[in-house]
Assembly symmetry: C2
């Protein structure tokens, strides 16, 4: 499915570059290969999953329109793919979503419905919107076509750098972590896959400890793309099977990684996208890893957020 996804999404998703940085290698004590999805269309990897699902819908389904709920980057991915196929899109977004994620979504012609992240349940709201519009739901992670689409990130990375010892994947709901770890193990059996989460949004780490899906209160981490309160039903068993462990990084480590990537690597990465680099910079990865792939999930960084960092 991941290889099929790579073909399907070609008209919409870019093949993003893999970057290296001498200063990053020196600080991390390993050769780091950054898969730069901050350069992806819409500024994040999300277009891959969204395009994979939306481009496989029937004309009848497309006519009904598309509904999605998202803290931001998935919204842009869905809006881009919906525009490409000429389908109407309604996006349910938290009212405090970064402007850098809300504005471009609206500019792509999507209708935005906002909700309060702390008081309202976005899935219920999405269900109401679905009932109202009769549209097709494009979930952010818990769907095989979404997971397969996100897996193309690691497919491209390993095509370009086949001899990786490990892969660091940021974990929100687990769509990218499940897709990427699956194709990584297929292409390179024995590769060590690690998920990376903020300490403040450690739902997957807790779920790994407990051996079942744990739901935490809405996380207040600066990594707004990783505020999912629990792993997905479908993504969790795949992550358990494929990920060696979940690495945790603090808010300060995430901030430092964002600044390091700007000042030394010269790329703009949003906090959610920087957790893998934070893990590499602050000694969270096992010793002795020689060549490590790190997925930079996105680069939609608000001016006000950057200023605060």
């Amino acid at each position: 499915m991941i290889r099929e996804a790579a073909e399907r999404i070609r008209p919409l998703a870019r093949r993003t570059p893999v970057m290296t940085s001498r200063s990053l290698d020196e600080r991390a004590g390993a050769s780091i290969f950054l898969k730069c999805e901050n350069f992806q269309r819409g500024g994040a990897f999300k277009i891959r999953g969204a395009a994979n699902l939306i481009l496989s819908l029937t004309p009848d389904e497309l006519k009904r329109g598309i509904v999605a709920f998202s803290s931001g980057n998935h919204a842009q991915g869905v809006a881009l793919a919906a525009k490409y196929v000429g389908a109407a899109a309604t996006i349910v977004m938290p009212e405090d979503a970064p402007k850098s994620k809300m504005d471009p979504t609206r500019a792509l012609g999507a209708r935005i419905v906002t909700y309060n992240r702390l008081r309202e349940d976005r899935e219920k709201l999405a269900a109401a919107v679905l009932a109202e519009t009769g549209g097709v739901l494009v979930p952010p992670y818990d769907h095989p076509m979404i997971m397969a689409g996100q897996g193309t990130v690691a497919l491209e990375l390993l095509e370009e750098v086949p001899d990786l010892d490990a892969l660091l994947i940021c974990v929100g709901g687990g769509g990218m972590a499940s897709g990427c770890s699956t194709i990584a193990l297929d292409l390179r059996p024995g590769i060590r896959n690690f998920g990376v989460e903020p300490e403040l949004g450690n739902d997957v780490w807790l779920s790994f400890q407990k051996g079942e899906r744990v739901t935490i209160p809405p996380p207040e981490t600066i990594a707004d793309g990783l505020r999912t309160p629990s792993p997905g039903k479908l993504t969790f068993p795949i992550m358990r099977r494929n990920l060696e462990s979940i690495l945790l990084v603090s808010e300060d480590e995430i901030r430092a990684a964002v600044l390091f990537l700007m000042e030394r690597v010269k790329i703009v990465v949003e906090p959610s996208g920087a957790v893998g680099v934070a893990a590499a910079l602050f000694g969270k990865i096992p010793n002795g890893l020689g060549r490590v792939g790190v997925i930079i999930s996105g680069g939609n960084l608000d001016r006000s957020l950057l200023k605060s960092i």
Copy 2:
């Protein structure tokens, strides 16, 4: 000489990527190819010229040590190349040079001598340091080996994108503009070369109008790498022959270009490196150019400067 330089500097300079951006193309009304020297070692193209000259010095010359004067990026280039060949380096820098340029130079083991940019003459100071140390001067632009080294930027760009209609080159002293325009015309006769300068640092524009080298008071432009008060003796005749004209951009346009590159293209570019993009974004290039190469000269952007932008 430029082709020889490409061979000579290979152990020290990276081959930097060429990036494209849909949003940039849309705004500029042309296909823009960014040659990203912000990803170069030391954060700017300057390593190319410095390495070309320093790697061609004799062992005796290297023993005498190296002296350079620079507002910042050339300093890092010289310090890197000097460290590589094991030569002592003394760099004369303005005391208000950005921290992001001074600190890494010092970290590379170079001795830094500072001066007041408005009151003191850096060339006189460098002459004094040369007399004191007996070292070899590595000038920032006005030397055939420096110009040849900087020309490798356009050599690489045109190897990767051979069918460019035009090239936008930022102009400080003119080292990169002369080297790049020379190889561009050799590889693609008929290519239209344009220099780009800040309005506040328009010494080359004025020199083009007058037909001779004009010296202006120390420019106060935000583009600190382009504060040279006059074109070089050697670079000026080459620029006159090779550049169709000098395009001028305002301080606000430079700031807007820096932000556009961060927020839309997701790369960190210093003001001096953003003038070409500013020209493309704000309609300073002739109509009808289809494919335009733009050289991003560097990415050493101070936190405080970024905050002010």
